[in-house]
């Protein structure tokens, strides 16, 4: 998994906030004629091109099987947030046609699922990785604690007082270790379930992206069919 630098992470956060603020600006702003103007179209075309460029990441990942450093997520994030932001500027917050509304809704949903996937899935995945590592270390240590286990058995046979104290200490240590392993196993299983749940969330991201590009195609086709206004 490619690890984003602090600067890249900041850009992703700023762009996400910018996108959401831009979307919410619809509450206070509307300019119906802007989308059809030359400037409006330029925003729309550039935004669409950016969205297409964001597809390079899944294409390289799924088709060319390039992962990690070979296929950094950074560009996907930048194009995936920059394109929709330009798209919203193009719309100028005018929710006129059904296709336009669906396209904006799909854009918002794709970005939202992407942001969720990026911030939460990565967090869960990384935490799970660390928890598994810790659990394996503890398991290894527990296996090595044969003496402690024997101490617990001997305790049952009730030896003399002096020996009994030492055995009790060792037995307690081993029991604590065993409890820690059990707790860790539980945490790992919870995080594994969460990871599975988020892998489903990713599928939602793909379906929404498919809807977005289908609506975008229809949007462009209808614009050309009914006539581009500034031509």
């Amino acid at each position: 998994m490619h690890v984003l630098s602090f600067q890249e992470r900041n850009i992703a956060v700023y762009l996400s906030v910018f996108f959401v603020v831009l979307f919410m600006a619809a509450l206070v702003h509307q300019a119906p004629a802007f989308a059809g103007s030359v400037t409006g179209h330029l925003f729309g075309i550039t935004g669409g091109a950016f969205m297409l460029m964001a597809l390079a990441y899944p294409f390289r990942k799924r088709i060319l099987n390039k992962r990690g450093v070979e296929n950094p997520l950074t560009r996907h994030i930048l194009y995936g947030l920059g394109g929709p932001s330009l798209g919203i500027i193009h719309s100028a917050h005018t929710f006129g046609s059904l296709i336009g509304i669906l396209l904006l809704a799909a854009t918002f949903a794709v970005v939202l699922s992407g942001i969720t996937g990026f911030f939460l899935y990565r967090k869960v995945s990384r935490t799970l990785h660390i928890q598994k590592k810790d659990r394996d270390i503890l398991k290894k240590r527990l296996k090595e604690e044969r003496e402690g286990a024997r101490a617990c058995l001997l305790l049952l046979e009730k030896l003399g007082d002096e020996e009994e104290e030492e055995l009790e200490r060792r037995c307690h240590e081993t029991m604590d270790l065993a409890h820690s392993v059990a707790e860790m196993e539980y945490t790992v299983s919870v995080f594994s379930k969460m990871k599975n749940l988020f892998s489903f969330w990713y599928r939602v991201h793909y379906v929404l992206a498919l809807a977005l590009f289908s609506f975008l195609t229809v949007h462009i086709a209808t614009i050309v069919y009914y006539g581009i206004r500034w031509l």
């Binding site: 119906p32 004629a33 989308a35 059809g36 005018t94 006129g96 046609s97 059904l98 296709i99 336009g100 669906l102 599928r203 379906v207 498919l210 809807a211 289908s214 609506f215 195609t217 229809v218 086709a221 209808t222 050309v224 069919y225 009914y226 006539g227 581009i228 206004r229 031509l231």
Partner: protein, 206 residues
Amino acid sequence: MMRKILQILVGLAVVGFSAWLFFYEEAAMPGPLSPGHLPLGDCRWCHIPWKGVSESKCRTCHLFSNVRDLPRSIHFHESKEKCLRCHQEHGLLDEGISQMDHTLLNEALLCSMCHFDVHGGLFGEACRECHGISSWNVKGYHHPSGDRKDCARCHKPPSFHRNPRCWKVILEGMGFDKADLEECRRCHTVNQWPQTSENMAWQGED
């Protein structure tokens, strides 16, 4: 396997729905039609597929063979080839369906044919000497210096000045025995026309 099939089905449903959207005309309508065009129904009344809105389509209903046949209020419609420069449908304009573009008008048309002349004809028909076409405001206009005394060149005395009885009362109020109607500056200042100059005062007001 089931998951794969489900994914393919969902994908096909999305693509199918999008294809249906393309053929469902109302889905592409960017805004409501104006009341006059509402009964048309079919988009092809105005749009030519893959070409867009055409002025020739406008003229199917809006006849422009002779401008003089049009109602007097729209006699200025000289530019019958450029309907879309001023008229836009689907609520794209802030107000209604029209937005005047004076640059399209025939030079021979007089401003006074449509606009009320607030100058009362003092400047004749040469409005464009001072006023722009895109904005009515006079660019860089500065009132002539206060030394000039030919106010009547631009300003007409109001009716209560022209009425002899009123004029007499005004003169008495200002403490003049005699004054000419065009001697505006004896009472008025340049910057605040309704007020009289400081050295003049109505009788009874100190």
